[in-house]
């Protein structure tokens, strides 16, 4: 079985290399940005790439539980790394927007209030902060049952991220719709229908 093989294979692979691998895309972007590899508009390219990587990782994080439930593939030990990496990419996405793209503080504040796609993106980022801050063993112990409830915020955050992307494209474009569809499916898989009670069989 594939699932067994994956589970066996990942038994010896710790999560920490994900953080190291995760540092490569931003470093690569910075390198490319300084050496002209990002084309004519390096700022937009960095901003877009970091946002996209963040969204991909958020979606990847949503895949962990369904993979375990429906395919028996256990990747849960990588979920924290994936989630934290998503947070850092989105933080970088935001910083690039603030520092390199918009630059003007008054316009940044106006944009957050006046531009719905930015409001939505900012809301998603703000909601991610407590999740990132509590992605550690100490917080899990400390918060107990509330930790699980708090982290259900991802069910709001990821759709917001997908909507943020959809809202900023011009015209009818497929890519953000594909992500939104994937998010919808991944969330739908979590809905547990109330189990129908078996009619008592007699004789």
């Amino acid at each position: 079985m594939i699932a067994e093989r994956i589970n066996k294979g990942t038994r010896k692979v710790p999560a920490w290399p994900i953080y190291i691998l995760g540092a490569l895309p931003p470093l690569w972007l910075i390198w490319q940005g300084f050496t002209g590899g990002l084309g004519v508009d390096p700022v937009k390219e960095m901003e877009h790439q970091m946002g996209l990587w963040g969204l991909w990782l958020l979606i990847a994080g949503l895949c962990i539980t369904p993979l375990q439930r429906f395919a028996g593939i256990r990747l849960i030990k990588y979920r924290r790394a994936i989630g934290l990496l998503a947070f850092f990419y989105i933080l970088l996405h935001l910083l690039i927007w603030l520092v390199l793209d918009v630059q003007i503080p008054s316009q940044i504040i106006a944009d957050i209030y006046k531009r719905p796609y930015i409001t939505v993106g900012m809301a998603a980022f703000v909601l991610l902060i407590p999740l990132a801050l509590t992605s550690n063993n100490w917080s899990i112990r400390k918060l107990g049952a509330r930790w699980r409830q708090l982290h259900k915020l991802v069910y709001v955050i990821v759709p917001l991220g997908g909507v943020h992307f959809l809202m900023l494209v011009r015209g009818f474009q497929i890519e953000p719709l594909i992500y939104l569809a994937a998010i919808a499916v991944l969330l739908a898989l979590r809905i547990r229908l109330p189990r129908r009670k078996r009619p008592a069989t007699t004789g």
Binding site: V40, V43, V102, I104, R115, P116, G171, Q173
Partner: protein, 301 residues
């Protein structure tokens, strides 16, 4: 092979500042020499316009027929067949017909115009176009009285344009101008840039350039020009009337519903390049503001 342009300078001269200044004077001289009757320096393009590199201009394009990515046109537009090319000119004109591109060009007086292009997406670049005034073409075909608008249409070639597979817009791409805008001496049909043939990704073989309007008004690879009485269908207005008006004049005071138009990112300025303030009519207000006298530009955006 027909020469598409009459370059006054070779490519190697382009970045040379002396040549650049010299050329500016030539343009001004040529424009005045053409007897267009404007007082003062003709087409006083906003001062200090430093053209973007050929590389910038040809690798950062919105031409959705080839894909929605900025680099898609550079990657895919080579498939576009531009020879032969026919432009159908019809509607309220004295001499309607199918005009060969060569025929249009051989009757045209090619000038160089250095214009800032301000995209509705809040970025800008400076482009040294080669082309002729739309007015000269319209004069040649004879605009009939009663015509109030000019409608334009881009080629639709599903075999050559991969972006047409997606309903991003209601294809074919269409644009339009009011007749007085079309006849304005700043309004150009570009057939080249930097003294070279117009690259496909920039709208070969001929495209519209209206420097005081957002870039999307500058329809590319034109196959049809129609003179008509009614306001033409325009693609972006059709896609989202709340975001894209018929006029689409550059206006820092009227925001796009999703983003501010007060400033623009300067393409080619690098990682730490700063924004610049967007100018009313993209800096061409002196020449064109009177076209809109008495109009509420926040209504007619």
């Amino acid at each position: 092979m027909i020469r598409l342009t009459t370059p006054k300078f070779r490519d190697c001269d382009v970045t040379d500042e002396a040549a650049y200044l010299n050329r500016r004077q030539l343009i001004a001289g040529a424009a005045m020499g053409a007897g267009l009757g404007l007082a003062g320096p003709a087409f006083a393009a906003p001062e200090g316009l430093e053209p973007n590199s050929f590389e910038d201009i040809t690798n950062y394009n919105n031409y959705y027929e080839f894909g929605t990515g900025k680099r898609d046109p550079a990657e895919y537009a080579h498939a576009l067949t531009t020879e032969p090319w026919t432009v159908k000119i019809d509607g309220m004109v004295d001499k309607p017909g199918d005009y060969q591109f060569e025929d249009i060009l051989s009757n045209a007086q090619i000038e160089e115009r250095i214009y800032r292009l301000r995209c509705v997406e809040a970025w800008s670049m400076v482009i040294p176009w080669n082309g002729f005034t739309l007015a000269s073409l319209l004069d040649r075909v004879g605009v009939q009285s009663g015509a109030k608008y000019v409608a334009f249409e881009t080629a639709t070639r599903p075999d050559e344009m991969p972006g047409l597979r997606y309903p991003v817009l209601n294809w074919p791409y269409r644009e339009g101008l009011r007749l007085d805008e079309a006849m304005h001496p700043l309004t150009l049909i570009a057939t080249g840039l930097y003294g070279k043939e117009l690259p496909n990704q920039n709208g070969a073989p001929l495209r519209l350039v209206v420097p005081w309007k957002y870039g999307f008004k500058g329809i590319k690879s034109i196959v049809r020009i129609t003179l008509q009485e009614d306001e033409p269908f325009t693609s972006w207005n059709d896609a989202n009337a709340g975001e894209y008006g018929f006029y689409s004049n550059v206006n820092p005071n009227v925001d796009h519903p999703r983003w501010s138009q007060a400033t623009e990112r300067v393409i080619g300025a690098g990682l730490f390049g700063s924004r610049r303030e967007t100018e009313m009519f993209n800096g061409y207000g002196e020449e064109v503001a009177q076209l809109y006298d008495g109009m509420d530009l926040s209504e007619n955006f």
